[in-house]
């Protein structure tokens, strides 16, 4: 079997040593690990077609993997099989300045793409915190969000066309550079965020927009979480849609300060990072207004970042929040609970109560502007008793999020980690429809099996925290 793959991709692109199997047995999700049987680095769509055909015939699972930064165990090969890498498919193929699109192979690093288009005066807005490491293919598969989601949306809002190898080993082209296209079912949208369960994405065309001329950043510190949450609501109510409105609680501020040493006030209960882009005048007006609103809502300090460097440092700090938090305890479990932004204050409060109730350390940061919060539980996977409490607390957090009109994941995807909770969000009818779709496209269940669809759904709780 190994030999057939070897003849497809070449000897240097097949990995099967023990060290390699271990090195591709994980992603950034805590507490998930499983060994693959083989790691392949194909060089073209055609090679992927040939690989998939063998896998379909022999019923071998395929797990496509970018840089393995995802946080819902979406790229852990829990059923064994092949981990498919894109390190040999990382070319930027075409920049189309007339249609404002860029066409890339899936292995391009998000930051490299962003830098490339910006050097051409264009802008690709999705900016997941892992953008220095993550690949575009991974972003499309997970429908990644980022710090600019509030104003510019997420990855799906920029995907114009895809080349996909189906689980039967056929090549399918979806979408195109055109602005309008309503021919049939929107299969393009179905594939974006499908987490590698419906096919292998081998080419991506993305929409670009003009690069905003100016941007400015404001920072506000608060004595209470409620004041920060009120500020978020008030900014939106004042009809400002900032590009970024990021929130960090006290625990997160302390952790980021430990890493960056940039002088964040450890005593502050919450901080908001507010950024606006656009033309000079509008940016200036909006940022001043946001600073004023923060002050009106009890900010102990609200100021303009002194320079672009300072604002970059603050954003880098925010992007590092999750990893920085992990300094405190051996295991870090991050959640992705998302609510309508009007419910942010309630959600943050509920998280605090749940942490208290279960005697756990949970810090929260996230994209306050779009309601996407990241409650992060600091624990120790070796302490089984505590891990049981963690699981209970996370269940309660999902429960509250759904009751507030929210969801179990805003930008990380379901993967294997959140699969048992998906039915809470979708209901039985939704789950059945999704299962039917998966089965009709991938009847042999070879594409990233075990992800999105859990064997069993968690029983919903009767008693819960929050309201």
């Amino acid at each position: 079997m190994k030999n057939s793959f070897l003849s497809i991709v070449g000897v240097e692109n097949v990995k099967y040593s023990q060290a390699h199997m271990l090195a591709y047995s994980y992603d950034a999700t805590a507490n998930f690990q499983a060994m693959p049987d083989l790691v392949l680095s194909p060089r073209s769509t055609q090679e992927i077609v040939e690989i998939v055909k063998i896998c379909a015939k022999e019923q071998i699972p395929i797990v496509p993997r970018g840089s393995g930064t995802n946080l819902a165990a979406g790229t852990v090969p829990t059923q064994g099989g092949i981990v498919l890498l894109f390190n040999n498919m990382s070319e930027i193929l075409e920049l189309d300045k007339e249609n404002l699109t860029v066409t890339v192979q899936p292995g391009v690093i998000t930051q490299d793409l962003s830098n490339y288009v910006e050097s051409n005066g264009l802008f690709y807005p999705p900016d997941p915190s892992s953008m220095k490491i993550s690949t575009i293919g991974g972003n499309v598969s997970e429908n990644s969000g980022g710090l600019r989601g509030l104003k510019y949306g997420v990855t799906k809002d920029y995907v114009k066309a895809l080349t996909v190898v189906t689980p039967a080993g056929e090549v399918m082209k979806l979408g195109g550079k055109l602005a309008k296209d309503v021919a049939g079912y929107d299969l393009l949208s179905l594939l974006v965020g499908s987490e590698g369960t419906l096919g292998v994405i081998t080419e991506i065309t993305l929409k670009l927009i003009p690069l905003p001329i100016a941007k400015k950043t404001g920072i506000a510190y608060f004595n209470s979480l409620e004041d920060a949450a009120e500020t978020v609501s008030a900014i939106i109510a004042n009809r400002i849609i900032p590009v970024t409105l990021e929130f960090m609680d006290k625990g997160t501020i302390g952790a980021v300060e430990d890493f960056m040493k940039i002088g964040l006030p450890r005593e502050a209960e919450a901080m908001l990072l507010m950024e606006q882009d656009g033309n000079d005048k509008q940016v200036d007006e909006d940022i001043q207004k946001m600073i004023a609103i923060a002050k009106e809502n009890g900010a102990t300090s609200a100021i303009l970042a002194a320079s672009e460097e300072e604002s970059d440092i603050l954003k880098t700090g925010r992007r590092a929040a999750l990893s920085a938090l992990s300094r405190k305890r051996p295991t870090t479990i991050l959640e992705d609970a998302t609510v309508p932004r009007s419910e942010i204050a309630k959600m943050v409060k509920a998280i605090q109560e749940i942490a208290l109730k279960h005697d756990l350390q949970i810090s929260t940061f996230g994209h306050a502007g779009d309601g996407n919060l990241h409650p992060t539980c600091l624990t120790d996977v070796r302490d089984q008793e505590e891990m049981a409490r963690v699981e209970k607390a996370l269940e309660e957090i999902f429960q509250v999020a759904i009751e507030l009109g929210g969801t179990i994941t805003g930008e990380h995807g379901v993967g294997e980690m959140k699969a048992p909770y998906l039915e809470w969000k979708l209901g039985t009818v939704g789950m059945n429809l999704m299962r039917t779709i998966k089965q009709s496209i991938d009847p042999q269940n070879i594409m990233n099996p075990g992800k999105i669809f859990a064997k069993e759904t968690k029983k919903r709780l009767v008693i819960h925290g929050g309201n």
């Binding site: 040593s17 390699h20 992603d27 490491i133 990893s323 992990s326």
Partner: protein, 440 residues
């Protein structure tokens, strides 16, 4: 799978030597990946990344993998440049983990004849004893002076050695005999003890002489404690930590005096290990206090020169800027001791030159102690990547802060056939020439 006795002992050794708590600090976020030179030059191979290596360390400890060539290769390939540490938001102490891993391996592994020979002659031989080092250098000196160098180069004697050794031989500096120092005139305001370093005091004697002269010209009284030895970094980074610490204790004793303000060193690699004596000897009650004093006084030459106001003096020398000068960071100076602004400050003010930043100046050049001898292929790839940036910039001088980097960059320049256009120099030599050649 049959687990051999060696594999079992190796796992035990990992359990005994590699700290589980440090391993648990890694949350696998991958922020280290773009910072790791070996990950980048291997077309993003996860086993050659810090995250992958930590997973393997944990795998070894937990018994999820057994010791084999593939696991060994992953650890061997690591440069130990520690660029992953500043990039890691989770604060993983990768340097400690790597040292512990190498100790774990060293205690169990049977080594090849060649590696044994290299280790024996380096760790127990020249690098353990300053006199032996001096002796070895005398031999090189004789070899250079006697005309043997020219002869051996001609008859291809060196073809018998691995290719990298040959290239290294070609860039060995011409060794000068120890000269009497010029008598300094200014009144002394600061007293420093000079950590001369074993390579720096022999192969790069000239640089040490200039270091002392520069310091003296800035009003510094320079003392050289005689009992000092090799810093022990090479031992520590190769799994021979105990031997390294033997040197550490000798050095702490040699420098244990109230009569100086700083202990200065001019080799980035040594400087990092010297400043980490504190960490290594903290549980040694006889040495903890002395070592803390020692490490706190440690300063690298660039930082000290800036502190003493050398850059102000450089500014006073008016010479038209013509050539480009650039800087290749010493990984350990940058990533461990966090010194990267000071050398740049000095170079920006150097008369006669325009400073331009080298692309990825902070990434390793591939020298990394004796890495370029043990892993010549990988070292070559890393150096080739580095030289791409150098060729783009076309500097007249590539300034470095560590003897290993200096020789490595010189090898790179020679390999590209650029030795007529540019030169790799130690920062002290560069500054010395910038002052004295332009002043008189």
């Amino acid at each position: 799978m049959v687990v051999t006795e060696l594999q079992q002992r190796m796992q035990e050794s990992f359990k005994d030597n590699v700290d589980e708590e440090y391993l648990m600090d890694c949350m696998r976020c991958g922020f280290c990946l773009p910072a790791c030179p070996t990950y980048l030059v291997t077309n993003k191979d996860e086993i050659h990344s810090p995250r992958g290596r930590i997973a393997l360390m944990k795998g070894m400890r937990d018994g999820d993998v057994v010791w084999d060539g593939s696991v060994e290769e992953s650890f061997d390939m690591c440069l130990g440049c520690r660029a992953c540490e500043p990039a890691c938001p989770a604060g993983v102490q990768y340097g400690v983990l790597l040292e512990e891993t190498r100790v774990a391996i060293e205690q169990v592994k049977t080594k090849s004849v060649v590696e044994k020979a290299v280790r024996k002659s380096t760790f127990d031989g020249v690098f353990a004893d300053q006199k032996k080092m001096a002796g070895a250098v005398k031999l090189v000196q004789f070899y250079q002076k006697s005309g043997l160098q020219t002869v051996t180069r001609k008859i291809g004697f060196l073809n018998l050695f691995p290719p990298f050794m040959k290239e290294m031989e070609a860039v060995l500096p011409a060794i000068e005999s120890k000269k009497k120092r010029a008598t300094p005139s200014e009144p002394k305001t600061t007293t420093v003890a000079f950590f001369t370093g074993c390579l720096m005091d022999t192969l790069f004697q000239e640089t040490n002489r200039k270091t002392i002269e520069l310091l003296e010209s800035l009003g510094v009284d320079v003392m050289i404690p005689k009992e000092q030895q090799c810093c022990g970094a090479l031992h520590g980074h190769s799994g021979e930590l105990e031997k390294g610490l033997r040197n550490a204790r000798t050095n702490v004793d040699a420098f244990d005096s109230d009569s100086f303000d700083f202990i200065v060193n001019n080799a980035g690699g040594c400087g990092a290990f010297l400043s980490e004596y504190e960490k290594h000897l903290q549980s040694d009650t006889a040495y903890a206090e002395k070592t803390t004093r020692f490490s706190r006084k440690m300063i690298d030459i660039s930082s000290l020169l800036v502190k003493l106001g050398l850059n102000e003096r450089l500014k006073e020398i008016q010479v038209e800027s013509k050539a480009i000068v650039t800087y290749q960071d010493s990984c350990h100076l940058r990533n461990v001791n966090k010194v990267f602004l000071e050398p740049r400050t000095l170079l920006q003010d150097a008369p006669g030159f325009e400073y331009k930043e080298l692309i990825d100046a902070g990434s390793c050049c591939g020298s990394a102690g004796i890495y370029n001898i043990l892993q010549p292929e990988m070292a070559k790839k890393i150096l080739d990547l580095k030289m791409k940036g150098v060729k783009e910039l076309q500097p007249a001088k590539v300034v470095t802060s560590n003897p290993g980097c200096l020789m490595q960059m010189q090898v790179g320049i020679q390999r590209e056939g650029l030795e007529k256009e540019m030169q790799a120099v130690h920062i002290v030599d560069f500054l010395y020439d910038a002052i004295y050649k332009n002043q008189n």
